[in-house]
Amino acid sequence: MTIRDTLSILLLGLAFLSPAGALAASPWPAASRAIVDDHILPRYRHLDEAAMDLDRHSRKFCAAPDESGLADIRAAFQRMMDAWMEIQHVRFGPVELYLRYNRFQLWPDKHNTAERQLGKALAEQDAAQLADDKFPYASVALQGLGAYERLLYDSDTDVAGFRAGEEGGGYPCLLLEAIAHNLAQMSGDIYREWTTGAPSYRDIVLEAEHGNSYFESSDEFSARMLNNLYTALQFIVDQKLMLPLGATPAEANPRRAESWRSRRSLRNILLNLESAEALYLTAYSSPLKADQRNAALDRDIRKAFTRALEAARAVEPPLYDALQSEARRRPVEGLLTAASELKRLLGGPLPTALGLPLGFNSLDGD
């Protein structure tokens, strides 16, 4: 019931608020440009590099699977996850076309679909399904980072499982290669669609200043990214922390944590928070404090980011173990409190003060 309870009807009356004075120039064209050039593009470039790296290492490992190769692709996977966590909060643009967001990662997997579908795929060993022109149309539960993680970190994973016979990799290896290649393909496409084409997504955002078929004004894009910023905190609080936490150590469900197999749940949250803070500072802090009346709110939000980041660093990883220990849970609860306060500030006071509507909620649902 908790997710349903978060359903909010926000009657903020924003239309009647005039944040920076009616005559001051709008801050949103400049903020929009900064969001794209300083925040989004560098992170997608990093994602693209990490995905190409994962693709390369996967092929190398599968050419001759051995222990050092397995350690090698696990490290490449960790770097890829870092890059994804830095941009996971962006749900607008090329990443939402062709179901790419979900093809990168299906989580939480409420109905255990990955377990069932991956089990079936490994049993059937249908290599034809992995072809470049077929795999992108397969179930999203097979395509993304979650399936790759299961192949690398499941309890029964060993190098022998990746070997087919005398040389080269067997079906699990073919699947690893297909996933990595598909991720590299998507990452490249996302970056290209942001930067090239007529118009590119970058053009669309920059031209929103004068209105276009996507946006009536730069306000609309800025509001959209504000929604993504708030959603990032909602994702952390409601799903990454509250789902696994439970009321007591005995009721904790550490397998409901994101990336529990690779024991990087906490690192994911830390990287998410760092990116969220960067987005806030890039786009919203200056317009907010430009109005003297909101300077205190800006200070509160920056302080809340600092507290949440400190709280995340105060938890001893992995989250998987921390959740199940009476003593080690306290810092996790501290992180939940700090992140919840940040979420509150970003979801209510901030949009009201900026005069930007928060819009559709992209996480709720049954």
């Binding site: 359903l7 009807i9 076309l97 790419r100 109905h111 007591t248 009721e251 559709f360």
Partner: protein, 418 residues
Amino acid sequence: MKRAIVLLAGLCLGGQVSAAPTQQAVLEHYADLAQTMYQDSLTTAKALQKAVGTLIEQPTDKNLAAARAAWKAARVPYMQTEAYRFGNAIVDDWEGKVNAWPLDEGLIDYVDASYGSESDENPFYTANVIANKMVTVGGEHIDASKITKDVIASLQEAGGVEANVATGYHAVEFLLWGQDLHGTGPGAGERPVTDFDTKKCTHGNCDRRAAYLKAATDLLVDDLDWMVKQWAKGGEARKTVIDGGDEGLATILTGMGSLSYGELAGERMKLGLMLHDPEEEHDCFSDNTHFSHYYDALGIRNVYTGTYVRVDGSKLTGPSISDLVAAKSPEADKALRKGLDDTLVKMQAIVDSAEKKGVHYDQLIAEGNKEGNAIVMAAINSLVDQTQLIGKAVAALGISPIEFEGSDSLDNPESIGK
């Protein structure tokens, strides 16, 4: 400054505004509609209760078929009430008891090996209460030595996991049909009637299975009865709406938008389509999903137009939020009405596929069924479009912005894959 302009505009349009019903009349009719739809849901659930009683007394194929038909009939009015769920906190807080989905059915009864034996998300994944008189997970003990309404109510969301659905329509559906083991191929669940036959019992524990079915059906009737009372004169749900003023109008539109967008287009349709997974089908045991989605869409239109055709065929009409929108912006009203009609056309195509061609929803979302995928995608796109039009109606009424319940990756649906 802007507020003054809005008020002036209101004054200029005074003549037109007076043609519309009062806001209060609209809110009261909205509550009347709810009361009537829940009353119909209760009546049909009682018919289901009777059919289930007959089935347990005399487990014959004929009586099983009659119980299944009664379940399907009970879904018709209930699905139309779903437009009340989001926005009305009293409905949303209660709804999980009667219509929670999807469920990990291994909590309730035996399952096929293909279901799997464990889940990251759910420690009760294969608890099988019908076969086990005591369930213990993570320090939690549940005594199920006798299966009663109280016992199954206590199993609901066991361990804080929403997939532990022990009560409501879908629990009853699972007991009447059993798992659909046909994947994305033709066919629904094929539970044999002997699963309820204590003399020729199949799959064991037939007495406990029958007790579960009875308890779940009885509880469903109780829960619906409670909800009818909330919408009757003096009821809590009715009071909240009719005393709510502008917030009452926001409730109506939030309910329409959230069901259209996050819930129906997102969780119930898009997710299943991108997973090509029959488990993601809303009425997956009975293969009744086409009607389930159709009546959801119809319910949204009912609420907007203030119209409802009852199960006895009589028609209820009255002042609606459509009238209020039309008074402010005839274009916004016309566009939204058209959007709602378009969605029903797309939903009708899904119904026709199942009822006329025998190609059911789970087959439509199968991997490689491009034509089927496109039929489902067209309905999803239409729901997303109608959500935008609901947003414009909200703006026309000057009560924006509202946060609609959304879903991942719905804001810009494109063809699948690339």
